[in-house]
């Protein structure tokens, strides 16, 4: 079972590596959006410090949305999606592998680059680990939930807009808890509660989202 999942992850990473520009677009989008805010708002350190978690998290949501459209669309277009549906393993496992590959390509880089972005907002150094940890726990949830939306809107005209309408409301809890944990830490309180809730969300999404994605894929491919 793990062999098929590993095969999908390796395949998607290999395709992403050979199409590096696609991956770079989403990451650059994140960097540029988060850099625009300090430029537009002005160099008011206190204000920047207080908006930093929210801005970074919203930019992470949007950058994740940007690459979600391609999650299944490319496989659908070249016919490999049909082969995934006919694979020898449960479709939920395949869907989980696709979501994992999506996170490795579009979520993990955000986690790694976020401390650098936080520098622009003059975020105090002790908050960096909290921000990174909240993103580490939260961004996989974005990929998992996003995969359901991507599967549902597969092959629709204007699917990209519909996808954001479907998925962004579902991202709200992740946004609240992700940005909230950094705010808590900034206020000198322990962020454990929010981070644990994020971890719970991640476990919940990892357990159920792949199966919902699988059901959505079967409907879309018909």
């Amino acid at each position: 079972m793990l062999e098929a999942a590993r095969c999908i992850v390796v395949r998607d990473l290999l395709v992403a590596w050979r199409r590096r520009s696609d991956v770079a677009t989403a990451l650059l989008f994140f960097v540029i959006v988060t850099s625009l805010f300090p430029l537009g708002i002005g160099a008011e350190p206190d204000l920047l410090r207080s908006i930093a978690p929210g801005v970074i998290w919203v930019a992470a949501l949007l950058s994740c949305m940007l690459s979600l459209g391609r999650l299944f669309a490319a496989d659908h277009a070249d016919g490999t999606l049909e082969q995934l549906l006919l694979s020898s393993e449960p479709l939920g496992v395949i869907a989980a592998a696709k979501a994992l590959a999506h996170w490795l390509v579009s979520g993990l880089p955000l986690v790694l680059i976020a401390p650098l972005i936080a520098l622009q907002y003059d975020l105090p150094a002790p908050l960096y680990p909290v921000l990174a940890l909240s993103l580490l726990l939260g961004t996989p949830v974005l990929s998992l939930i996003g995969a359901i939306g991507a599967a549902l809107t597969l092959g629709l005209r204007g699917g990209g807009v519909l996808l954001s309408l479907l998925v962004l409301p579902l991202y709200v809890p992740v946004l609240i808890m992700g940005a909230g944990s950094v705010d808590m830490a900034a206020a000198g309180l322990a962020p454990d509660g929010q981070l644990l809730l994020l971890a719970a969300l991640l476990i919940f999404a990892a357990a159920f989202a792949p199966w919902a994605t699988a059901a959505a894929l079967r409907i879309s491919v018909e």
């Binding site: 290999l14 199409r19 049909e82 082969q83 694979s87």
Partner: protein, 202 residues
């Protein structure tokens, strides 16, 4: 092995493609699906492999409905559809290896190389290949798929030249001779002798 479809009906976009179609296929049999463009050949194949649910009727594998078998049924078959089902950025060998892993087949790198050699494919990214070579890269799967009893092939000869077409015919013949079952659609003349023909035009 026994594939049985009873009273299949298919409706696409408000148009009835076929209705009350029954097929029974055993090992060593070759079923050819004939009919003009748009008569529902591809839909029938997709129904038989479980990608599409029929409007009426059911498909059974060894007596059990394929909808309940899911991957247990997928494990038994190769489906080669209209679309190439290869990743443009990967090489033919990488594509073949992935297809085999997903199908649950264990193949050695040597077997993969042999399969590609028999279709005279260079190890290039698929996007550099021509339409016909791409089709060869897809059909190379058949060389390593002996152990899967059911082959469902949608237009296997499309875009192939004479030599590759003959090779595909030999593979199909060989599979049927070994006791496998094949369902295929084609517009071209083919030397393989079908034991059953379904004409969707009638």
């Amino acid at each position: 092995m026994n594939l049985e479809a009873s009273h299949l009906g298919c409706e696409r976009g408000g148009r009835t493609l076929f209705s009350d179609l029954s097929v029974s296929l055993r090992g060593g049999e070759l079923l050819r699906v004939a009919g003009p463009n748009g008569s529902g050949k591809t839909s029938l194949l997709r129904i038989l492999c479980g990608l599409l649910s029929p409007t009426t009727g059911a498909v059974r594998w060894e007596g059990t409905e394929i909808r309940r078998l899911r991957e247990e049924y997928s494990k038994q078959l190769v489906y080669i559809g209209h679309a190439a089902a290869v990743k443009d950025d990967l090489t033919a060998a990488e594509n073949l290896r992935i297809a085999c892993t997903l199908a649950g087949l264990r193949v050695s790198p040597r077997q993969i190389q042999q399969a590609l050699d028999s279709f005279e494919l260079a190890d290039l990214p698929v996007k550099r290949l021509s339409q016909g070579q791409r089709r060869r890269a897809v059909l190379a799967r058949l060389v390593v798929s002996d152990s899967l009893p059911l082959w469902l092939l949608d237009e296997p000869y499309a875009a192939l030249d004479a030599a590759a077409g003959r090779l595909a015919e030999e593979l199909i013949d060989g599979h049927v001779a070994r006791g496998g079952a094949v369902v295929f659609t084609t517009h071209q003349d083919t030397r393989v002798r079908a034991s059953q023909v379904i004409d969707l035009d009638a």
